[in-house]
Amino acid sequence: MFEGAIIGQYVPGESMVHRLDPRTKLILTIIMMTVVFMASSGWGLALSVGVIFFLIWLTGIPLSIYLRGIRSFRILIIITFGFQLFLVPGEPLLQWNFIHISREGLTLGGLMALRLVVVLLLAQFLTFTTSPMALIDGIEKLLSPLNKVGVPAHEMAMVMSIALRFIPIFFMEADRIIRAQVSRGADFESGNVITRLKPLTSIIAPLFIKAFQRADDLALAMEARGYQGGEGRTRLREIRLRRLDLLFLSTGLMVALGIRLIEVYV
């Protein structure tokens, strides 16, 4: 039931953006998010929205898929908007009993809500076009200069990859254990909060044991294949920055600076 929550993110494709180095996309997303968050005026925000829609167009993924992703955040967006709308004091636009809407609240609420939508779109731009494994590879490469100061980049990436693999396993095992316990007469449905907690141990304990066993198997399998950490390890898909990546990065940086300058001077 929950597995799709993670894995359903990636939309395979052949677009220019799909083929970019994951590092490029990571950096590009960070740059654009910073721009969006620093944008204090409608101008800056409008420009960055334009840039982001251009990026989205480049991914070749229909806008409807992006919007479907945003839809699950609609309550959050409404709350963000409403919070500013009703609570920010200022020049009254509408006043009725205790309801008080100010011009400042309307502007601020709109700005915050728009910002949130844009940030969500950007996050999707990254996760739709980059498979989780590519994302982790990108992070490993970005962190690897920090190896010298003691940040274990490879180990961190390995922890993340294994975590990704284990998320569906956990759900699968939990499902199996729940069925097994129910078939033996366990009752998870009735009673109050406290009495419901008790059968929970009959799920958690076997879940832990199974997880540890699997971890054992995996560690054994890795060592049997000669895994000894990141040093001298080769990979199936080597990621490297190509000309297209440099083009995207430099353009992204210039656009970001441009938007900033326009914000400051116009």
Binding site: F2, A5, I6, Q9, L26, T29, I30, M33, F37, F73, L76, L116, V119, L120, L122, A123, L126, T127, P132, L135, I136, I139, G150, P152, E155, M156, M158, V159, M160, S161, I162, A163, L164, R165, F166, I167, I169, F170, F171, I177, A180, I204, A205, P206, I209, K210, A211, F212, Q213, R214, A215, D216, D217, L218, A219, L220, M222, E223, Y227, G229
Partner: protein, 194 residues
Amino acid sequence: MNFSTREIVLAGVFAALACCVAIVFRFVQPVLVPFSLLPMVFLLAGGVLPPRAAAASMLGYALLGLAGLPVLAAPPFGGVIYIFKPTFGFILGYAAGAWTVSMVIRRLGRSFPIYLAACTAGIIVLYLIGLPYLYIILRFYLGQTVDIMRVLQIGFLPFIGLDLAKAFLSSVILVKIPVNRFLSGHSGSHSRTL
């Protein structure tokens, strides 16, 4: 710098556990009652793993979220932007807390009272990181006028009781886990049947 293969794998397992707990609680959690089992995950990670691996597991969880995968508990569930969320400090606190728990256990040994002390120390470290972060983001990023008292009111007082209960519960669970067997790699059969 040297992690054993088993430590890396177990750190991955705990990071996955954190993701699962966060994902499940998104569905069952009523909007207005902020309750999370994540603190228990970091306490258990600290109780089972050596210090560096424990910290790595929770940092791995944080990085998965920051990279944009929707594994974090609160909206927007993932993305670099999480750094600006007032509660992100608590996610960093999980890593520091897990490290602390593990360190206390390494120094003092393994028994129920020590687990209890270690988990309490972990919770304290969680707040030592989380609350200043909360204050800094509220004050300097969101520009709200908050004083220390207010920060304690929104980030500390409503949660500390439950978190101490979670520390107790984690200690109870930790006593039952044969940790040494897991770390040395003799956790029983390799059968695939349940």
